[in-house]
Each structure stands twice: as structure tokens, then as C-alpha cells.
């Protein structure tokens, strides 16, 4: 056992370090500044009275709820290549591929479901997609439901989501 003990040199040798309190006040500086400012003017406190007040700072880069994009003719862009499902660290994307018969592509998803309870909103699916078929630009940040099943978004729901920032068709 003795050879596993390692003696670590102590560094706080100066009087200021040994006093301990200066470091505490240094750390509390920001907190204290906010305390005085907020006590002086209670209306300047940066809080949001959600849900009556909605956030206004959702930008194009915000990763909201997913959507499946459309082609120019309004049909689904996704070709069920499984890249998103492969990249997904939470494995929350369930795809069943099928033959596409309208002549636009060969393949499309028959089932495309995202379990938002398992999704970690990392955006890897969007990064992985070779067809710009899935995006997270809906700006939707909350999902509500009464049962677990309500949180599994189906292909139809994902297709119905609109971009919050215009431009609905995919760029692919």
C-alpha cells in the first residue's frame, strides 16, 4: 500500500493564499455585482416569465424540433439512406425504407419516426444528411403530450413542421 501514496507539494505558501478569504471574494465578485444591481432596480432582472412571455432570441442556428424538408414539387426529400439513424447517438430515429414509385427517386421512407423523449438534440442527423432532408430550424423548443407515444413524431408530423426562418424547400 505504501508505494501508492504520493506526496503532493502544497502551493499556497503566500500570506494571501493562506488567508483564504481573498480568493472567496474574488469568486463572489460577479455574483455580488449582480446582487447590488438587481436590488437597486428589480425590473432589470433578466428573467423570462415563461410561458406567458416567449423567448425572442431564437436564431437560425438554434436546434429546435426536427422537420423533413420537401422538394420543389412538394414531395418528400428524404431517400431513407439511414445516415441520420447511423449518426444518431441516442438511436432515436426509426426508419423503414420502401420503394418509391413516382419516378422521382428509387427509395423513400415508409416510416420515419423520431422519439423526442430520447433525442438529445445534438443535430448530428442534420449534419449527416447528404440530401438536406432533415433540419432543426423549426424554432420549436417544447413538445407536450399526455402519453409517451405522443412524443414520437411521425413522418407526417415531421413533414408538416414549417421552417421558422422562411425557405421551405431543401437546398440539395
Amino acid at each position: 500500500m505504501t508505494n501508492r501514496v504520493k506526496t503532493v507539494p502544497r502551493y499556497n505558501k503566500t500570506a494571501k493564499e493562506r488567508l483564504y478569504l481573498p480568493a472567496i471574494f474574488e469568486g463572489l465578485k460577479v455574483t455580488a455585482k449582480h446582487l447590488f444591481v438587481n436590488v437597486a432596480d428589480i425590473n432589470a432582472v433578466e428573467t423570462l416569465e415563461y410561458p406567458e412571455e416567449q423567448p425572442t432570441d431564437i436564431t437560425e442556428r438554434y436546434r429546435g424540433l426536427h422537420r423533413l424538408t420537401h422538394r420543389e414539387d412538394g414531395s418528400i426529400r428524404c431517400v431513407a439512406c439511414f445516415m441520420c439513424a447511423t449518426a444518431c447517438p441516442a438511436q432515436c430515429i426509426h426508419i423503414v425504407a420502401t420503394e418509391r414509385t413516382d419516378g422521382i427517386e428509387e427509395k423513400m421512407p415508409q416510416i420515419f419516426e423520431i422519439d423526442t423523449l430520447e433525442c438529445v438534440f445534438c443535430g448530428y442527423c442534420v449534419e449527416a444528411c447528404p440530401c438536406d432532408a432533415i433540419r432543426m430550424d423549426t424554432g420549436i423548443f417544447s413538445v407536450t403530450g399526455k402519453r409517451r407515444e405522443d412524443f414520437v413524431l411521425t413522418k407526417e408530423q415531421l413533414l408538416a413542421h414549417k421552417s421558422a426562418f422562411g425557405e421551405d424547400t431543401s437546398r440539395a
Binding site: 431517400v79 439512406c81 439511414f82 447511423t86 438511436q91 426509426h94 425504407a97 420502401t98 427509395k107 447528404p130
Partner: protein, 472 residues
């Protein structure tokens, strides 16, 4: 044998000295020694063709890079496989292969096991010089018949499929038509692929031009696990891979069978029936135990079986399926001896002369018929005189035996249930050894691990405490 003894010579490859047989194909020697040489048209079973030009290597004394599939090993050959010049040459050839390629990997079933993808990542010019709009277009998703889909755009014209139908099955349905960059693979007008080995062209095709209609869009290949096993379609016992996947949303499922190289039995190929036999294997499985028509628990079923066997006063006949592994057959044999039953494994039920052909298909459609004979099991049909208790281990002709009482141990759901029916694991869910027609023993690994596994045959017999006997 009057043949000359093969002469071994020494060659130098990338400063490594290797020993090889004189006159052997250099590409094969390089591949066997672990060198990574890209190639499309060469295949061990089909021989060199020399049309793809990918397998270029530098050979000392030769002015230009040479294709290694058409170079033969001789004493003192000095080969370099990974010089800057070779990489440049390969990149150039690959660029030509990709000129009219549609780059539709997202919808291509070959993606993930595609030589074009692999070599492109290794040597590729990542930005093509031909715009997509200028590419030539051919027929996509053309149904060639026999479960094979052709995409002429994805083809690299290596002609492996043409050589397979021409030289190996000798039906010659496929050919290359037109010239220059208009050339493409096609069948003769009005003809389809019409041989019982057609789906092998799917494995042969190094790119996504020929894909399986059966596997089409079912699963992406990178989710699949390959487990070495043996086809149970007939007594030939072709070596296969079981490609299966257990995804988050589905239980362990077989998606396809692929041939596994075994030079002693099937070479590189399997027949289409065998390849598609995975469907019957996993459809209509029996998963619960039944006493007559009511479902019972496994523990109760085991107790009932023991009670039925022990309380029986008359004759006992045990039937064993000739597809069971030799370990299982031996256990059944010990079991039959223990309970004083007569063991039969009638082989006539498996004879199917219509299936037989001169290549891989055997008329004996039981994988372990030889194993049954080796164990000295009676292969005749049992007579059904008097009061008989029949214990049937998955034999297909059990209905022909008249029995007073019957215990069935089945992998698949029967049409009518016996007095007691117990489910047993199918061959993909357990491991064991098979002896094929020629007497070659092959090991099959357990491929599937279902979420709710059914007991194996061995588990059901544990109640008799027969010991841990095993032939291998």
C-alpha cells in the same frame, strides 16, 4: 501423379520477401499476403480479365506500371505496390470509372460494401471534373428476373457477372452491349436471367450495379453482423454467412444469406434456393409450449413431458430430424436409449430428385443426413403397431407414424397440435456441427440471440440428466 511439384520462388514486394508458387497470379499472391491492391474485374473463381486496370503495380525492369492480375510470379520479381506514381495511376483510372457514375450512394444498397466507395476514399479525387448534368444516363432499377436488379449507370464494366453466366453456369444470359462510354450490361432482348444460381452475380458485382431484389431496401449493410454458418437446404452443406441485425426497434432478424468461401465444398457460390431459405427459417416460428391446444409455460411443459414419458407403459418411438446438429442427434440417441425408445431418422422424407443438379444442389435435402448415418441411427420409417408413444424431434414426416400419444419438439408452428408440443431453437439460434454428403464436418456458429429465446433441444432433455456428451 505425374504433375510437376509446384516450384516455390522468392519475390520481393515493397522490400518484403515473400515466397510464392511459380506461375501464380501476382495479384492473388499479393492479396493472400495482406497487400491492399484495388481491383474490380479479377475474382478468384473467375480468373483475371484485365479490363478494369485498377490492380496496377510497379515491376522493376518494366517501363510502365503493370496490371498484377496478368503478371505471373517468377524468381526474383521486384514489385512495388504503394509508390506515389502508382497512387497517381490508380486515381486516374478511378476517375475514369466514376465519369458516368450517378453517385447515388444514399439510395444504393451496395453502399457500405462497395469497392468504388472504398477505393474512392483511399485514392479519390474528391471533386469530380464531370458535372452531374453532363453524365450519360442508362437504365436504372431494371428487373433482370431471378431476384436481381440491374442499375446500368452504377456499373464499372468489370464483366464479372458476364463471365459468371458465361463460364461458370454456362447459361450466358448477360453481355455487354454497345461501344465506348455507351457500353452497358444487358440481357438479350426478351430474355431474363434464368438460372438457379443467378443471385451470385449480386455478390460478384463489386459495385451497386447488380443488387438483390429480395434484400432491396431492407437494411443498410453496416448494421449487419455476419456469422459463419452452413446452409441447411440440402446435404451439400454450402458454407454461408448469416447476415443478421438486432436493431433497437426489432428483434434479431436474418436479412440475407451470403456464400462463404470453402474450396472443398461450394467454392464462392451458393444456389438461389439456399440463399432464400432464410425466409422459411424465420417465418411461422413456434414460440410457446402447448398441451393439445392450450398454451402452457416452459417449466410446466418440461414437467409434463417427463411425466408422459415415465408413465408410458407401451412402446416408445423417437423420430429425429436429419437437419439437427450432430451433437443434438447424439443427445437424442442417448435420450432414446435411456427411456427405452427406438430411434429412427427416416431419410426418404428428404429425398427430392427434382432439386438435384450437377453442381451444388443435392437430392438429399437434409443437412446432416451423413451425420445420421455416422451415428448408426436407423434411417427406415418406424412401424406403428400397437400402442406407441411418439417423441418427434422436428421430423417432417412425423404425421405418417400412427401413434396413440405424441410429443412434438418443433421449430415451426405445425398445422395440428399433438398431445404436447414444445418449441425448440432453430439452427440459427444454436451452434453445432454438420457432416455433409462428402463427409466433411463443418461448424455452425450461433447467429441469432433473440430477446425471448426458445429453449434448445438440449435444454428440454436436461430433465433426464444425460450428461455433457459431445462428439467434437
Amino acid at each position: 501423379m505425374s504433375e510437376k511439384v509446384k516450384k516455390m520462388v522468392k519475390i520481393t514486394v515493397d522490400d518484403r520477401t515473400i515466397e510464392a508458387e511459380e506461375g501464380a497470379i501476382l495479384l492473388q499472391v499479393l492479396l493472400e499476403n495482406g497487400f491492399e491492391i484495388p481491383y474490380y474485374c479479377y475474382h478468384e473463381a473467375l480468373g483475371p480479365d484485365g479490363n478494369c486496370r485498377m490492380c496496377m503495380v510497379e515491376i522493376e525492369g518494366k517501363k510502365r506500371p503493370q496490371i498484377s492480375c496478368d503478371t505471373f510470379v517468377e524468381e526474383g520479381l521486384i514489385v512495388r505496390t504503394d509508390t506515389e506514381n502508382i497512387r497517381r495511376v490508380r486515381r486516374g483510372i478511378l476517375e475514369l470509372q466514376l465519369v458516368n457514375h450517378p453517385v447515388d450512394c444514399p439510395v444504393c444498397d451496395q453502399a457500405g460494401e462497395c469497392s468504388l466507395q472504398d477505393y474512392y476514399m483511399e485514392y479519390g479525387l474528391y471533386h469530380g471534373k464531370v458535372p452531374k448534368a453532363e453524365k450519360l444516363h442508362f437504365e436504372k432499377h431494371l428487373d433482370l428476373g431471378r431476384n436481381v436488379m440491374l442499375d446500368q449507370e452504377r456499373c464499372v464494366l468489370c464483366k464479372r457477372c458476364v463471365r459468371f453466366t458465361g463460364n461458370i453456369v454456362k447459361t450466358g444470359e448477360l453481355g455487354v452491349v454497345e461501344r465506348a462510354d455507351h457500353s452497358h450490361i444487358a440481357t438479350l432482348p426478351g430474355r431474363k436471367l434464368e438460372n438457379g444460381y443467378a443471385m451470385n452475380v449480386v455478390d460478384l458485382c463489386p459495385v451497386g450495379a447488380l443488387t438483390s431484389k429480395d434484400f432491396r431496401f431492407k437494411q443498410r449493410v453496416w448494421f449487419l453482423t455476419s456469422t459463419p454458418s452452413v446452409c441447411h437446404g440440402c446435404a451439400t452443406g454450402c458454407a454461408i454467412y448469416i447476415d443478421h441485425a438486432k436493431t433497437k426497434f426489432e428483434d434479431d432478424t436474418i436479412y440475407r444469406f451470403r456464400p462463404r468461401k470453402n474450396p472443398d465444398i461450394n467454392g464462392h457460390f451458393i444456389c438461389d434456393e439456399g440463399r432464400l431459405s432464410y425466409k422459411a427459417l424465420q417465418e411461422n416460428r413456434l414460440r410457446e409450449a402447448r398441451a393439445e391446444s392450450s398454451s402452457i409455460g416452459f417449466e410446466e411443459a418440461a414437467a409434463q413431458m417427463k411425466k408422459m414419458v415415465e408413465s408410458w407403459q407401451g412402446r416408445i418411438v423417437v423420430l429425429a430430424d436429419a437437419n439437427l446438429y450432430i451433437e443434438e442427434l447424439e443427445m437424442v440417441q442417448i435420450f432414446a436409449n435411456r427411456i427405452g425408445g427406438k430411434l429412427h431418422a427416416p431419410l426418404d422424407a428428404y429425398r427430392d430428385p427434382a432439386f438435384e443438379d450437377a453442381w451444388l444442389k443435392s437430392a438429399m435435402r437434409a443437412a446432416n443426413a451423413k451425420g445420421v448415418e455416422r451415428l448408426g441411427i436407423d434411417t427406415s420409417m418406424p412401424s406403428s403397431r400397437g400402442e406407441v408413444l411418439l417423441i418427434n424431434f422436428n421430423h417432417p414426416a412425423a404425421g405418417d407414424v400412427k401413434a396413440r400419444r405424441q410429443i412434438d419438439l418443433l421449430t415451426h408452428r405445425p398445422e395440428t397440435f399433438a398431445d404436447l408440443t414444445l418449441p425448440i431453437a432453430a439452427w440459427s439460434e444454436t451452434s453445432g456441427t454438420l457432416v455433409n454428403e462428402a463427409g466433411i464436418e463443418q461448424r455452425c456458429e450461433q447467429a441469432l440471440f433473440p430477446n425471448d429465446p426458445v429453449p434448445t433441444l438440449m435444454t428440454w432433455l436436461e430433465a433426464w440428466d444425460l450428461g455433457e456428451r459431445c462428439l467434437v
